[in-house]
Symmetry: C2
Subunit: 459 residues, 2 copies
């Protein structure tokens, strides 16, 4: 049963399991105690720190273990902001950071700080110039992911570190998605990561703070982990995390090449096999194992359900698969189609046959859902009046776009269709439909109920 | 090799190991995902929550898993204080709480809140009346451990919950040391615990917030664990924690009786076998598995080292075994002897023969250290002037008390000896020596260097 969601959590690496076993016997005691069980635990913890530091490319005393990547981000941002409080209270983040970064930014704003979100291009990438322009007097910290978790786009970290250095601003790099593949290049100041993304166990994150970076840990004082991560160390988990990071790194180069080829196959063939698909994310500067596409006229939740029934575990940024009923903030920031969104992230060792089978299964699954939703099967036909209004109020993605497509042929070239919708996804998906179809998106305005989205027929 | 420090961390329970194994296979995926691996993880998480809630005596939706007991305490105190901000900013704690509670209190004070520390008696116990008297208008939260981690004394939690209920103040109970033995009685509002204290793995704590208790989680928002504990759930650890809690509870009654007998043996026989020992902690209302005593004229670090060499792993609250060179705050709050302090906490399944061997080994170990430090072997002899000054500046525990004892016989009955010392332990240990020897502790005053402690000879 192929599992294609390693960007959420990778299955435990065999080396992690082995290391965990051994460390359960040797590493359960308190490493702060001087007796033999404590000394053994301390030795394991020190060795794991050295191994992790070597993989990151930092000094062991710059690296602490946290209970998760999220906690590493929370602690890293809070500590760096507090340490630079005198410099100012301005924080710069990209618009496509992980929620742990954006929620840290929201907390900082709620506490009286200011935040600039640097926008991304349609591929999900910040431009170094735009990022540099956001840095100013009073900027205490800047954050940039090494690569995006939803669409796989690599960020220009090296260029941004240079801009930050010139501006005298420390840069925190969230390397959660990329650390398995290699160290983060450039002269960054802080780095965070999460072990269960590389095949380590849940319960372990990394926070690296370079020597010389001002850092003031927040929250109640605690002696563990240099005062930067409170609570009794989860040494078996830490040992397994470090061992598996070393193991995946040893395989990273050939495995990246192999998965990159499989991902390229998905990127090329899905649009050939399935009509009306938008493959999203930067086509070149991207993670080797992750690919994302959106299918017009398809309900993301139904798609996930049907793929799961067919044996494939994937993720989605569609609005109907989230508790908030809004499309993922990443897709919104990119301004791309969000309906029928699928993220495929291949774990280490994914077999070619499984990818092939996915490509076999997908077209039928998508066609079945489209049929169920009554999606138009061909392009619009001609006929009808100058302008039409489609009332899709109360109806969820992908219905508003389906209704638009159904009537679109009824207005003449030059005529307009206005869709009334109260579904958040429509804001993203109607313009995306226009771009895919070569029609003109006129704009949106508030209606008595919901929002009116106007589209002009060009062809 | 007997390990007698389960109050720091208990060895992994066989059931925890078994459950962890199984959950590594079934519980590594993201429980928020709808595909099969996610659903399996969610089922395990839900089942673990139900098992833990049953052991605690709460509803499953009142309990969240945290990355450690310390993090549970930090989150619980911060959330309850913020939730009750309108009621006031006064926090009540006992003087002998775990450092995670006292550091939370310190952080609250640094943030402009006020804190009252309720003192304890010589046995380490708060009196319900003293605790009730600390509650007042504006008290947002009260904290009390179920039992003390260093001396084993049980606190009057039921009486204090009643006082808190009358005052309309929520009570947070830190149950880290007692949860293995049974649920916390009384109508408490919040409860915290730590899995590695009961034989679960490191990396798992519990935070329970009763329905109806005002609670506002602090830190950046996160959807996991009802918004009360950020970051990807460590499900294998959580499953192992819940399974082992259930397992230790099944054995708790007979095992408590068995260990209580072994502890009673240590409490009775150590003072018979080793001269000048003070057994500390409430003699009756105590945890079944933990006993603490202090040995006059003995360096705690040397004692731990020699016991480790003899094969026994124990803990100590002596100043010389801590990074701060001050005796444990618990011993200080109790006002008992801190030098040569030993905490013995017996894990589940401790064998009687190991306790017997400890009782055989201890007298020789203590005698050897005393000899090395030149401690007086008998009571003081008569002779000498009216008053004497002993300069012990720059010398660490146990030397100041040894020097006092050596010259004490040289002053006549009614005469005084003044000890000059800059060692923090002297403040505790010189009065304790007086109490043990039936001599009068006159008091302390600042000296040109360090502090002058005066003792009057009564016999």
């Amino acid at each position: 049963m192929p599992y294609f969601d390693s960007a959420s959590a990778a299955p435990l690496h065999p080396v992690a399991r082995q290391a965990l076993q051994a460390a359960l016997d040797e590493g359960w005691a308190d490493p702060a105690r001087p007796y033999r069980e404590g000394r053994r635990a301390r030795l394991l913890l020190d060795a794991a720190r050295e191994a992790a530091a070597e993989a990151v490319g930092c000094r062991p005393d710059e690296l602490v273990f946290t209970p998760s990547g999220t906690r590493a981000v929370h602690a890293g941002i809070a500590g760096a902001l507090a340490g630079r409080r005198r410099a100012g209270r301005h924080l710069v983040v990209s618009a496509v950071e992980h929620s742990s970064v954006l929620q840290s930014a929201a907390a900082h704003e709620a506490d009286g700080g200011t935040v600039t979100e640097v926008p991304v291009d349609g591929g999900g990438r910040v431009t170094p110039d735009a990022y540099a322009a956001a840095l100013r007097d009073g900027t205490a910290l800047a954050c940039l992911q090494s690569a995006n978790h939803e669409v796989g786009t690599e960020q220009p970290v090296v260029e941004v570190t240079e801009a930050c250095r010139e501006a005298g601003v420390p840069l925190l790099v969230d390397a959660a998605q990329s650390l398995a593949w290699g160290p983060v290049e450039g002269d960054w100041s802080l780095l965070t990561a999460s072990a269960h993304k590389w095949g380590g166990p849940a319960g372990v994150g990394l926070l690296v703070v370079r020597k010389g970076v001002r850092f003031a840990p927040q929250g109640p004082a605690d002696e563990r982990e240099s005062g930067r991560s409170a609570g009794f160390e989860n040494i078996p988990g830490i040992v397994a995390a470090a061992a598996s990071l070393r193991a995946v790194r040893a395989e990273a180069v050939p495995e990246a090449a192999r998965l990159r080829e499989l991902v390229a196959r998905i990127r090329t063939r899905v649009p050939e096999l399935v009509p009306d698909v938008e493959v999203v994310g930067d086509p070149v500067r991207r993670l080797p194992h992750l690919v994302t596409f959106s299918c017009l006229y398809v309900d993301g939740e139904a798609l996930l359900y049907e793929l799961d029934r067919a044996g494939f575990s994937v993720s989605s940024g569609s609005s109907c698969t989230s508790s908030t009923l809004t499309p993922s903030h990443v897709l919104r920031a990119m301004g791309v189609l969000s309906e029928g969104n699928v993220r495929v992230s291949l774990p280490f060792g994914t077999e070619e046959a499984d990818v092939e089978r996915f490509l076999e299964v997908l077209p039928g699954v998508v066609a079945g859902i489209r049929e169920r939703f009554g999606a138009p099967v061909s392009g619009p036909v001609t006929g009808g009046g100058e302008s039409l209004v489609v009332d899709a109020l109360g109806r969820r993605c992908p219905i508003p776009v389906i209704e638009l497509a159904k009537v679109f042929g009824e207005v003449p070239v030059g005529g307009t269709v206005t869709v009334l919708s109260d579904d958040e996804a429509a804001r993203l998906d109607i313009p995306a439909w226009c771009a895919m179809r070569g029609q003109e998106y006129v704009g949106e305005r508030p209606a008595e109920h919901g929002t009116a989205y106007a589209v002009r027929r060009l062809s």
